[in-house]
């Protein structure tokens, strides 16, 4: 590396000349296993500088990038006349301007011994989700500590997140040792502090190294300024770290990704072996359905294979015509994954809008998407102290231990056993944003032992006797919009016609069934969930059930819609403007809410999400509630609920 006239790259005093690494890429790429690691540490611990140093000293920086770096160092740099190596990795404009790392950046470098992908992750607490993202695909973590500051709250948080995401190998990089007079005593004190804390996290290995990213001591080049240290340099440690995950030795898990049917003669199941080994002739079982068959061929474009191992993307053909679709998991019969519809997991929440127990999300595990709900949040975890805290919801960057239920059974393993079949993400069903990430602790057997009782009289038999079809008439709208008034008239008319009806009213239900619930977002979701389940039972009994609930969230109304058959849910949006509701204020609630005496009041300090495609919209009629009720009855005839 030639020095330039304007800036110079600091080298460790007495650094030994590096061997030519020009052939690094060729050799490492031709045989050595790749290592994916992440760097984490507090705001100014020098993560980006360390990665810049690794790239620079392994000669992965090209001349044109170097001249861009010189330009940028003068503009944004924080290191005076020297090159600011951190600018090599802070890629987004906002990051360069603010001198911080916001998003995960992936960097690639290689030495003669190994190829590396490093995830540079942000240190601020508000970017915990980005750090977890980086960690999810890594086998090792380099945790930076500023030698002057020692182990900080953030060091603990980062270590905990690494452990949570299943990282087993840690390098504790005690950085800026030059600013602590290269003190051995200081180094050993920090290491002792760290080991004391990290014992609970059960890492397989922790290697501590004193170094200076800015000057390059003990990063790639061994430093003579830290003569008392005899352990490996950072690069030596990373090159030799054995991260054998033993994926080949674990039970076979083959999540079917795509059914390959190019013509009538070929039916193959494409996917990537998540763990284990599969060979032609192996008996396999479809985890959820329990159907069995034998592997016939392992098909690839390079010819059939005698075996496929973890990580191989292949196409399997089976001996029998078995019904298999994307989302199914193939396994060996004697070592099957758990098949459950309830499980316990650690969930990391990744968006501003809080996680609400009871709300329906889309869960992705392996290649399978399935609707799921959090049934209970046992506790959340203070990521700084690891204390358990009672909570009803999870906010952005919070981690909680939850029970979840899925709409149908899924095949899974504990995350600790198998990352591929033990990890899931949660997706918002409306925006489709990725809102949560989860690591499964264990399946809950409770669900599997409650078998549904087969019944002799079913819904269609009741419909024949009743002479009308059952339905849920769901009245939604602001408080005071007239929901209950209209619903009462509709019920009166239906009753007069001889229809079987029942009224579930928000206020009444809250006096009994839902007496234990308040008005927080989480309680509102649970309130509607219970009402939905009750409404479903009435529908099954053949009854027209009228539900009058503010029900402010689309997600929950949609959840109830999915509980009953198509055409049975009739959403009636009582669209009375807020000003009109406030004017009416039949129970004096708006007045009290505006005085601040009622919190979380819909329309005042809690949102109302109007329906997107309601079956009926009722705007206030000059003819009054009787006219609005008439329109509802008209709809029921159009929809052939009643004749």
């Amino acid at each position: 590396m030639t020095d330039t006239s304007e800036t110079h790259v600091p080298e460790p005093e007495g650094a030994q000349p590096s061997a030519a690494r020009a052939d690094a890429g060729l050799e490492s790429a031709s045989g050595k296993a790749l290592l994916r690691f992440l760097t984490c540490g507090s705001v100014d611990d020098g993560k980006s500088t360390l990665i810049g140093r690794l790239l620079y000293d392994t000669q992965l920086i090209h001349e044109d990038q170097l001249s861009a770096l010189e330009r940028d160092s003068r503009r944004h740099g924080t290191t005076g006349e020297e090159l600011d190596l951190a600018l090599l990795v802070d890629g987004l404009q906002a990051e360069r301007e603010q001198g911080i790392t916001i998003d995960v950046a992936y960097r690639f470098f290689a030495t003669p011994r190994r190829a590396f992908i490093v995830a540079d992750t942000p240190g601020h607490e508000q970017y915990t989700r980005n750090m977890a993202t980086g960690a999810s695909n890594c086998q090792a973590a380099v945790i930076l500590v500023d030698a002057r500051k020692g182990v900080l709250t953030q060091t603990r948080r980062h270590s905990y997140i690494c452990a949570l995401l299943g990282i087993k190998h840690v390098v504790l990089a005690v950085n800026k040792i030059d600013l602590a007079e290269f003190s051995a005593a200081r180094f050993h004190q920090i290491v002792a502090d760290y080991l004391g804390f990290a014992a609970a996290l059960k890492f397989t290995s922790i290697t501590s190294i004193p170094l200076s990213a800015r000057y390059g001591d003990n990063v790639v080049h061994r430093s003579r300024r830290i003569g008392w240290y005899e352990g490996p340099t950072l690069i030596e440690q990373l090159e030799t770290l054995d991260v054998g995950e033993g994926l080949d030795d674990k039970p076979l898990r083959f999540p079917v990704q795509w059914v390959n049917r190019p013509n009538a003669d070929f039916r193959g199941f494409s996917g990537t072996v998540a763990s284990g080994v599969v060979r032609p002739g192996d008996p396999v079982v479809v985890a959820v359905s329990g159907r069995e068959s034998k592997v016939q061929r392992i098909v690839t474009a390079d010819g059939d294979l005698p075996e496929a191992r973890a990580g191989d993307a292949v196409t399997l053909t089976l001996a029998d015509e078995v019904d298999i679709a994307r989302g199914d998991v193939l396994a060996h019969a004697q070592a099957r994954p758990e098949v459950v519809d309830q499980f316990a997991a650690q969930v990391l929440w990744m968006v501003e809008e809080p996680m609400l127990p009871g709300r329906s999300y889309l869960l992705r595990i392996g290649t399978c998407y399935v609707p799921a709900r959090v049934t209970s949040l046992k506790h959340k975890i203070d990521v700084n102290t690891l204390e358990h805290i009672a909570a009803k919801t999870l906010g952005l960057n919070e981690i909680g231990f939850c029970n979840l239920v899925t709409a149908s059974p899924v095949a899974l393993d504990a995350y600790e056993e198998n990352r591929a079949t033990g990890a899931f993400v949660l997706i918002d069903r409306f925006t489709h944003a990725t809102v949560g990430a989860g690591m499964i602790s264990f399946g809950l057997r409770r669900a599997t032992n409650i078998h549904r009782q087969a019944l002799l009289i079913d819904k269609s038999a009741r419909v024949r006797l009743n002479g009308h079809r059952p339905a849920v008439l769901w009245f939604t709208g602001l408080s005071g919009s007239g929901k209950s008034t209209i619903a009462n008239i509709v019920e009166r008319e239906l009753h007069a016609q001889g229809a079987h009806t029942y009224m579930l009213d928000g206020d009444n239900v809250r006096h009994g069934l839902n007496r234990d619930l308040g008005f927080t977002d989480a309680d509102r979701v649970e309130n509607i969930r219970r009402v939905g389940e009750v409404a479903r039972l009435f529908v099954d009994a053949g009854v027209i059930v009228l539900c009058s609930f503010i029900s402010p969230f689309r997600a929950e109304r949609n959840m109830v819609r999915e509980l009953v058959d198509a055409g049975e849910f009739i959403e009636i949006f009582v669209d009375t403007p807020l000003d009109e509701c406030r004017r009416r204020d039949p129970k004096g609630l708006y007045a009290r809410a505006l005085e601040g005496k009622i919190r979380n009041f819909t329309g005042i300090d809690s949102p109302y999400e109007p329906p997107e495609n309601p079956e009926l919209v009722l705007v206030p009629s000059p003819l009054g509630a009787e006219e609005e009720a008439r329109r509802v009855l008209e709809q029921l005839k159009v929809r052939r609920i009643i004749v």
């Binding site: 052939d23 031709s30 890629g91 992936y106 494409s270």
Partner: protein
Amino acid sequence: MDDTTASARVPRRAPLSPHLRRLESESIGIIREVAAEFRNPVMLYSIGKDSGVMLHLALKAFYPGKPPFPLLHIDTTWKFREMIRFRDQISARHGVKLLVHTNPEGLARGIDPISSGSKLHTQVMKTEALKQALDKWQFDAAFGGARRDEEQSRAKERVFSFRSPGHVWDPRNQRPELWNLYNTRINAGETIRVFPLSNWTELDVWQYTRAEGIPVVPLYFAAPRPVIERDGQLIMRDDERMPLKPGEREQVRMVRFRSLGCYPLTAAIESRATTIDAIIEEMLLMRTSERSGRLIDGDEAASMEKKKRDGYF
């Protein structure tokens, strides 16, 4: 089955290293994921070495079937003639459907890389043209061959990268991407750009190309070619549309291209590398990065991030 499809196989020249095998499997998994989850995907085909690898992976991913999506080339009309010849041969050889789109308004306005400037040309003939094509055919997912090692803002790109209606990329608000659990769900009007080569480096691409015997445009190999020297860069005048400036004259030099684009915007390097092995060797000694020959990247500070926000790949 074996007999009828054997001829479609690519003869393997060298066994894949574990590293390349892992990259190959990861990319095949990504490509299959798109086929399984999207209604109408398309693969951007830029004719370069990365596109060549991506197409090769797609052919392998769906074997013994064919990729269930077409290729799309955004033709600025300023590509090297050899590239266009190569493109047509490749789509014919593999029997893969190739769509070509050129921005008709840009053509009518006479936008060109020389008098309009590289910035306007790229905006109109590449970025706008791409958005037009995605809208025209209603594609909901588009594969691109971009790699994270190419450029700083690409280092932060997701494998499944969300675009809001209008093809807008918001780097500050990307979907978190954990494990390989890609979020493939979108609403109407939204699209996803998918980058199966995210974790490949330039070296990986060349080593894989060698190992798998993937054909590449001959412009990557050194040959005597007529070039002019302009602003310190060597430019090959591929046709008469590029006027010579006073004092410029064509001279035959032994040159090759590290990356391929519009010929007036793509600088050659002097090289004697006439084989893939020689290219790999040369690259390992090279002191400039791959995109340094791309005249468009230097247009302004953080120029790639800005172009990507506008909808560029």
